[in-house]
Every structure is written in structure tokens, then in C-alpha cells.
């Protein structure tokens, strides 16, 4: 099945060095330039970051700061113009589209602000779809899908269509779908932005729970102070560069802005 050049792969793994066992995603000097005609937009200007295995990391920044681009870059959704992104020590720039598909299928689970459930499918089918992409049989996928939906508290809704569910429930289905192939990483792009306070809190609790029980690494781009408070570490991005990294207890939260006290 695999026509992988082992040497090529080993070379990829050696690059970041063996001492950082606990780094699951490493971004080195990421630049991203969007071109539309003569106009060039520098969305990222040399962002460098490490994400540790099992941590709950929040990325914050004003709109236009490059937050979404950084998020997409470390999630293997866009390729950086220059710089490197290593996911589990694999340089994603070296992967072809099929290998990227494999990575997105099994290593990373994505949760979106607008849920992005496939409207024509039931909750269960939404959850089992990535499993069929991973080659699971229909029966295996069904059993696992039901188990995961129960875990996120939607065991009674498995055959409903997304449109029949509330926003919070839809986001839970999206989280269940992200968990389908037992990924190491969950990338959540403003997952609570379209939810009210209490349902947003439920999603945060769910993430926290997944982090604690399954050891999943959670990375979210967010403005939500509750999400920031729940996270282990917060990165602040401005003008395409990461300017601050802090723990939530080092921050003072004033509505949706924050600043670090003294040192950081």
C-alpha cells in the first residue's frame, strides 16, 4: 500500500532534533504571503511556536493579526510560503496531497466556528465519515461512532440531522467527528463564537474533559475569555508574529482584551 521512501522520511524526522520529545507541533519562522494580483498580504511574518503534547493551547489576537492563518498553517490546511511546520516531527511541506489527507484524517481533528457538519447526513454518518476515509468497515465505524456520540452526550440523537439540533449540540457532533479517528490533536477555530455563554461553557468543559481523559492536545483560536481561562497556555499573535506567551493566571482579563502582568 505505502510507496514511501523511508530515507526521505527518516531525514524529515531527524531535522527538529531528538531532545524535544514532548513537542507535538513545531512552527519555525512561518511566513505566509497571500497574493491577489499586485496586492501582497503578509499574514504571517516569521511566527515561531512549539505546542506540547497533551496541552490546551489558546491562540489569541485581534482580527487581521494572522491568527486564522497560523491556525490553518499548523493544522496542515495551508502550506506556508516559507518556514517549517512539523507535526509529530514530520515536515508537512514535504508531504504530497495523499499524505496530507492521511495526516488530516488521523492525526488532527478539526472543529470549526460554523460547525461545518454535512447537512445531508445524520449525526452518526457525520461522525463515521472520517472513519470510512480511514478505511474502517461500516460496522466498526457504526459502533465507534455511537460510542463517541454517547461520550459527548448525544447518544439519544445519533439519527438526527444537524438541522434538527441546537447550535451547542451541533458543535458536540463536530467534536465527536473530530475525535473519530482518535487524533492526537484537536484544532478548534473559534469553537464557541457561534454559541451562547452556557453552551459555549459546555464545549469548553468537553474539551477539558477530552484533554484530561484522552490526553488529546487541544489548540484553539479564540476571543472567548472563558476558553482562555480554561487553557494551559495562551499565545498572543500580532501582525503575523507571536508576541507573547503566558499562562492564564498571569493575565488580567478585561472583557475580551487581556494583558500580562509584569514579566512574561
Amino acid at each position: 500500500m505505502a510507496k514511501i521512501d523511508m530515507k526521505r522520511f527518516q531525514a524529515l524526522f531527524e531535522e527538529p532534533g531528538e531532545q524535544e520529545q514532548s513537542v507535538i507541533i513545531r512552527g519555525v519562522d512561518i511566513h505566509k504571503i497571500y497574493r491577489s494580483g499586485p496586492q501582497e498580504t503578509h499574514a504571517l511574518r516569521g511566527a515561531t511556536l512549539d505546542v506540547y503534547r497533551g496541552e490546551y493551547l489558546s491562540i489569541m489576537g485581534p482580527s487581521g493579526s494572522g491568527k486564522s492563518t497560523l491556525f490553518n498553517a499548523i493544522g496542515a490546511l495551508v502550506k506556508p510560503t516559507s518556514g517549517r511546520v512539523y507535526i509529530d516531527q514530520v515536515d508537512i511541506a514535504q508531504l504530497d496531497t495523499e499524505e496530507l489527507a492521511w495526516l488530516r484524517c488521523r492525526k488532527i481533528g478539526y472543529v470549526f466556528q460554523t460547525f461545518n457538519l454535512i447537512q445531508v447526513m445524520t449525526c452518526l454518518e457525520n461522525v463515521t465519515l472520517p472513519m470510512s476515509f480511514a478505511g474502517l468497515s461500516t460496522e466498526e465505524a457504526r459502533d465507534k461512532g455511537i460510542r463517541i456520540l454517547k461520550m459527548v452526550g448525544l447518544g439519544h440523537r445519533i439519527l438526527h440531522k444537524p438541522a434538527e439540533l441546537s447550535g451547542g449540540q451541533q458543535q458536540r457532533v463536530a467534536v465527536a467527528r473530530a475525535l473519530a479517528n482518535s487524533p492526537d490533536i484537536i484544532l478548534a477555530d473559534e469553537p464557541t463564537a457561534n454559541l451562547d455563554q452556557s453552551t459555549g461553557q459546555e464545549i469548553i468543559d468537553l474539551f477539558k474533559n477530552l484533554q484530561n481523559t484522552l490526553g488529546v492536545t487541544i489548540i484553539s483560536a479564540t476571543h472567548d475569555t472563558k476558553m482562555l481561562q480554561a487553557s494551559d497556555r495562551i499565545l498572543w499573535i500580532e501582525d503575523g508574529v507571536i508576541v507573547k506567551a503566558a499562562r492564564p493566571e498571569e493575565m488580567t482579563f478585561t472583557s475580551d482584551k487581556f494583558g500580562a502582568h509584569g514579566h512574561h
Partner: protein, 349 residues
């Protein structure tokens, strides 16, 4: 890091069955939207089919008109000789096969005159002769009983004593309806009446020129209608793919291969093309037939209709529906499939 677990194998290639399931489910659930897209295909194919049907009906009607004119000319000629046909006996001699006009003349004669005799061993064969039984008789009997002898068919005449036969005959004349049949020397111009319309060189040239013009016209209108169909179907398929860019982006985030996305849309397009093509062909044919029946009358249209050709055109139209839908869906599907997932997700079409 353990290298043995870190290799990235190729993503699993999904069997076509899964794509088919996803597609069928999608079509069922998005029924309203699917119907709109399929209607686009139906309209395109119905237009094409109605144009094609119109052409064959018009051609068939023109041919039938010419045949009817020929038959009535032959019949009026016979009537001028035998004003009252009933009670008379008609004899047929010849070789080869009866033409459509000849067969129908025989049918009319049988209806009006009653008895049709055929020369034993010297009668042309007929593919269709409705309600007519030819009674095979020897030459002497035919000569004694037949009021008119017809020489018919496109083959060579039987070789026998024409002189004696005509000498015995009630009517010393033979009516010839086959245009190019080679007559024996004894059947001189005085003893025969040529009923087949003879075309002069100018008339033939005019006819072939007209046929050529007609062919160009029909090619032109077919090409135009095909273009209209292509645009109609492309538009419908393009919309149905582009409005799902977001869904495609989501699927790619979940690990769908580009080939899976393309496969899905090709499958969907072929199903829509098949259904749309079928209903389009039926509707288009029905529409054109209705219009021509109203214009020309049912009996003329249906007797002139080449059913086999029409069926072939209908099959061709269904095939065109499938092919055009696939071609029209392939391009946007490929664009969508090769999109960076983040771009596809951002799309709000």
C-alpha cells in the same frame, strides 16, 4: 520518536460503493435541489430531442407525402382505364421486391378490385402487404382472368413466353410501376404503360441540391441545439458543485482524497444525467410529436414515423445527457477537489 509508527502511509482509497452511498443519500436528502439540477438536464435534453424528433418527423412526412402523391397518380391512371375497379381481377408479374409505393398500390387495388392474381414463380416478394392474399396462378389462367397486368418489383422479370401471354390476355397492355426494370424486347413501348414517375436530369439535380441544403440546415440546427443543451447542463451542474465548496472543504479536512471528491461528483453527475436524459428524451419526443400531430394530423405523422430511428435518437440523447453532465461537473469538481481545504472552507457561495 519511534520511526516505525511515524511513517505516513497513503490514504486509503475508498471503494466506489461508499462514494455511491454518499451520493445517493445526498441526492435523496437534497431532493429539492437535485430536482432543480435534474430539471436543467431535462430541459436541455428535451430541447435536443424535440429538435431531432421534429427533423425526422418532417423528413418522414415529406417522404410520405411524396409516396401518397405517387400512389394517387398511379391509381388515377388505372381508374382512367378502368373506371369501375370492383369486380376486376388484377395480375402481378415481376421479380425482386415490391417498393413501398407498389405494395400500397397492391393493397388499394385489393381493397377496390378484390382479386389479385400472382404469376406462379414470377412474382416480386413483399415485406409488408396488409390484408392482401396473392393467389398464385399459372400464366394461362392469369392471361384469361386478369383485366390489368402489372409489372412490379425491382428485380428481373421471369423468363417466359411473353408474346403468347400478351396474345391471350384480356388487356393487351401491361402497366409498369417499377422505374428501372429491364423489360424483355417483346414488351415494346406500345404494349406497356410506364406508371413510375420518370425524373428528368434537372429535376434530379434540383432534388439533390434541396437534399444537400436540408442536410446543412439540419446539421446547423442540431449543432445549435446541442450548444444550448451544453450551456443549460453546464450551468446546472456548475451551480450544484460550487454551492458545495464548503462541504468539499470539510470533507478534505476529514481526510477525503481529491480523487474521492471528484469521483463523488462524477457519480452524482452521471446519475442526474441519466435520470434527466431519460425524462428529457421522453418529454422532448412527446412534445415534438404532439406539435406535429396537431399540424399534420395523427395518421400522417404516425404512418411516417421511423420508430427505430427515433428510439436510436432517444438513446443518443440519454447518452448525451450523461456525458454532458459528467463533463460539466468534472471541471468544477476538479477545481474544488484540488483546492486548499482552508480556501474551500472560507468559500461562502
Amino acid at each position: 520518536m519511534n520511526l516505525t509508527t511515524a511513517t505516513i502511509p497513503e490514504q486509503v482509497k475508498l471503494p466506489i460503493r461508499i462514494a455511491l452511498e454518499v451520493v445517493l443519500q445526498g441526492l435523496r436528502i437534497r431532493l429539492g435541489r437535485s430536482v432543480v439540477t435534474i430539471t436543467g438536464v431535462v430541459c436541455g435534453i428535451a430541447f435536443l430531442m424535440s429538435i431531432l424528433t421534429g427533423q425526422i418527423v418532417k423528413r418522414g412526412v415529406a417522404d410520405e407525402d411524396a409516396r401518397r402523391e405517387e400512389i394517387s397518380r398511379i391509381m388515377s391512371f388505372i381508374r382512367s382505364d378502368l373506371p369501375k375497379l370492383s369486380g376486376h381481377t388484377i395480375g402481378i408479374v415481376g421479380g425482386g421486391t415490391l417498393s413501398e409505393v407498389e405494395a400500397r398500390v397492391v393493397e388499394q387495388l385489393a381493397g377496390e378490385a378484390g382479386t389479385i392474381l400472382a404469376l406462379k414463380g414470377g412474382t416480386p416478394s413483399a415485406r409488408t402487404l396488409h390484408g392482401v392474399t396473392l393467389r398464385p396462378v399459372p400464366a394461362a389462367q392469369m392471361a384469361g382472368e386478369a383485366s390489368v397486368i402489372f409489372i412490379m418489383g425491382d428485380g428481373n422479370l421471369p423468363d417466359f413466353d411473353w408474346n403468347g401471354f400478351l396474345g391471350q390476355a384480356l388487356n393487351n397492355l401491361a402497366a409498369v410501376t417499377a422505374p428501372d426494370v429491364k423489360l424483355p424486347p417483346v414488351l415494346t413501348a406500345e404494349r406497356t404503360v410506364q406508371l413510375a414517375r420518370a425524373w428528368s436530369a434537372e429535376e434530379l439535380e434540383a432534388k439533390s441540391l434541396e437534399a444537400r441544403k436540408e442536410r446543412f440546415r439540419s446539421i446547423w440546427i442540431t449543432v445549435i441545439s446541442l450548444l444550448v443543451t451544453v450551456i443549460g447542463i453546464s450551468n446546472a451542474m456548475l451551480m450544484s458543485v460550487t454551492e458545495r465548496f464548503r462541504e468539499i472543504g470539510t470533507m478534505k479536512c476529514l481526510g477525503a482524497l481529491s480523487s474521492f471528491v471528484t469521483q463523488m461528483f462524477v457519480l452524482e453527475a452521471s446519475i442526474m444525467g441519466l435520470v434527466g436524459g431519460f425524462f428529457g428524451a421522453v418529454l422532448g419526443a412527446a412534445f415534438a410529436l404532439t406539435v406535429y400531430v396537431i399540424t399534420y394530423g395523427g395518421s400522417l405523422v404516425f404512418s411516417a414515423l421511423p420508430v427505430g430511428t427515433m428510439f436510436l435518437y432517444a438513446v443518443g440523447c440519454v447518452f448525451a445527457g450523461v456525458a454532458l453532465s459528467i463533463v460539466a461537473a468534472l471541471y468544477p469538481a476538479k477545481v474544488a477537489a484540488s483546492m486548499v481545504p482552508a480556501t474551500a472552507l472560507r468559500s461562502t457561495v
